[in-house]
């Protein structure tokens, strides 16, 4: 029996007056790689944001490692969750270098009034080598291209040595060569560490390649939840209809 890493119990999530997710329940086991698939506005990004507490759960409960996620323990859980957002607008003149952006991923774990140790720095160097971003580190983050920023943000999420990864359309902006490279890296990490991962993607090929389980969402609800083979069958039926 696998440990349940994330449990969503009848959650509703909304922004101001609008409810985006309606009474959604599911469980994600430790080490599972789950793809979140569905049309625009289905609530996939909102679901990721609800899991790391960036979007407010208005009803229901979220459990991480069988402990309810709340405002008192949210930072403890966020320190073991890597998150790569879909959109990331920033002023090109911002006085922050790419290497500082990567290190920021580790700051929560480092703690207040402490600076990253040699061990932390070695781990950061290792992650940067894995993502082949060493040549970008001394550049201002705002001056990087969309694809380069994405790789830096992936590194930022990985340097905290996460137990849970939340990827939101991470392959957007990447060229074909880099998509293959990132897929290979994710597979390598998955084989070594078995991080529980939720990945939002519109790309069926990527979902098929990486995910062992797919959750299909529409209008803030789950319309399909199953393995890769059944997902492909459902997709075929949907296309014929």
């Amino acid at each position: 029996m696998k440990n349940i890493k994330i449990k969503l119990n009848n959650i509703s999530v909304g922004y101001l007056t609008e409810t985006v997710i309606h009474g959604l329940s599911t469980e994600i086991a430790e080490g599972e790689f789950v793809g979140l698939f569905g049309p625009n506005g289905a609530g996939k990004t909102t679901l990721l944001c609800a899991i790391n507490g960036l979007a407010q759960i208005t009803e229901g409960n979220l459990y991480i490692d069988n402990t309810e996620f709340n405002i008192f323990n949210e930072n403890k859980f966020r320190r073991v969750m890597g998150y790569v957002p879909q959109h990331f607008d920033i002023d090109p003149k911002i006085p922050i270098l790419a290497e500082e952006v990567v290190s920021m991923g580790r700051y929560g774990k480092t703690g207040l009034l402490r600076f990253p140790s040699t061990k932390d720095k070695d781990f950061i160097t290792e992650v940067c080598a894995l993502l082949e971003i060493q040549h970008l580190l001394k550049k201002p983050f705002g001056q990087l291209s969309g694809g380069e920023r994405k790789r830096v943000l992936i590194a930022r999420a990985l340097v905290k040595d996460p137990e849970i990864m939340l990827f939101d359309e991470i392959f957007a902006w990447l060229d074909v060569k880099m998509i293959d490279r990132v897929i290979a890296i994710i597979r390598e990490i998955q084989t070594k560490r078995r991080i529980t991962t939720l990945m939002v993607s519109h790309d069926i090929e990527i979902i098929k390649t990486l995910c062992t389980r797919i959750i299909w969402m529409e209008d803030g609800k789950i319309v399909f939840d199953g393995d890769r083979e059944n997902f492909l069958k459902k997709l075929e039926v949907k296309q014929w209809n």
Binding site: L54, P95, I96, Y107
Partner: protein
């Protein structure tokens, strides 16, 4: 230049040094986080509070603190939760605090000269107590900037991402707002209620044009703040001009030069 020999001018130079450092540090946060609308509202609230202090015959700085903190307490959640567009909230707070300021000015029991001093600033008449408060403010700002450098850098980069990393971004955002309120209140007497915000924004905006390093931006911003203060004081003494206005003019000139010779401008044009 014989003024340098006078104690009041030396005290003014020291106050300009402190005000330049304090506004330079706070300016870095306000400029990089693009929350200048909050800063403007805080400075006007501080001005209204100071005038209420005058009306009641109580401590000007205490009421200035109180009003700026109240403005932070109102504007912080509005900005944090995105429930009100910044244009709307600044419009409401700006106009209402300015309305209150003129109301308090209207009911002042004695002459208006003290109120006008708060409006334009009077760095040459700064007291020993004002200087001590400025020293405390500067010390606090330097300590916070060094001890929480990495947390503040994360919040400056992106508040949501800082939260996602497990940093208490909301607490640091409010810390920034309250320290901004404190700085504006303590520099109000020297630079003036209407002008203090220029000393917060201009040096930091000039530093922003020059460097891609946050540490260098802190240093340049404080350097420009101090240069504005001292340059303004000497201009005022030399040409018999109002000190607060001269300080702001010098800071504006520094900003214009930084834009003209900005390496970032060249990069972006390329």
């Amino acid at each position: 230049m014989e003024l340098i020999g006078f104690a009041f001018f030396q005290r003014a130079l020291f106050s300009a040094l402190l005000a330049g450092i304090a506004c330079g540090i706070v300016g870095v946060w306000i400029v990089t986080m693009r929350i200048s609308f909050i800063g403007v509202a805080i400075s006007h609230a501080a001005f209204a509070g100071a005038l209420l202090g005058l009306v009641l015959g109580k401590s000007v700085i205490f009421f200035s603190f109180l009003f700026s903190f109240l403005a932070c307490a109102v504007l912080g959640p509005l900005s944090d939760k995105g429930q009100l567009h910044p244009d709307t909230s600044i419009g409401i707070i700006f106009s209402s605090t300015l309305g209150l300021a003129f109301l308090f000015m209207g009911v002042l029991p004695e002459g208006k000269s003290q109120a006008l001093n708060l409006l334009w600033g009077s760095i040459l008449t700064i007291t020993h107590q004002d200087t001590i408060l400025l020293v405390i403010t500067v010390a606090l700002l330097i300590i916070v900037s060094i001890l929480f450098f990495k947390e503040l850098q994360s919040v400056i980069f992106n508040r949501e991402m800082a939260k996602a990393s497990g940093i208490s971004a909301t607490i640091f955002f409010y810390l920034i707002l309250f320290l901004s309120g404190m700085t504006i209140s303590t520099t109000l007497k020297s630079v003036g209620g209407l002008l203090v915000f220029a000393l917060v924004i201009n040096p930091a905006a000039a530093a922003y044009q020059i460097t891609y390093s946050l540490k260098k931006m802190y240093l340049l911003s404080t350097l420009f703040g101090v240069l504005s203060g001292w340059g303004g004081l000497f201009l005022a003494a030399q040409f018999n001009l109002p000190a607060g206005a001269s300080i702001v003019i010098v800071s504006t000139v520094i900003f214009i030069f930084s834009v003209l010779f900005s390496p970032k401008r060249v990069n972006n044009e390329n």
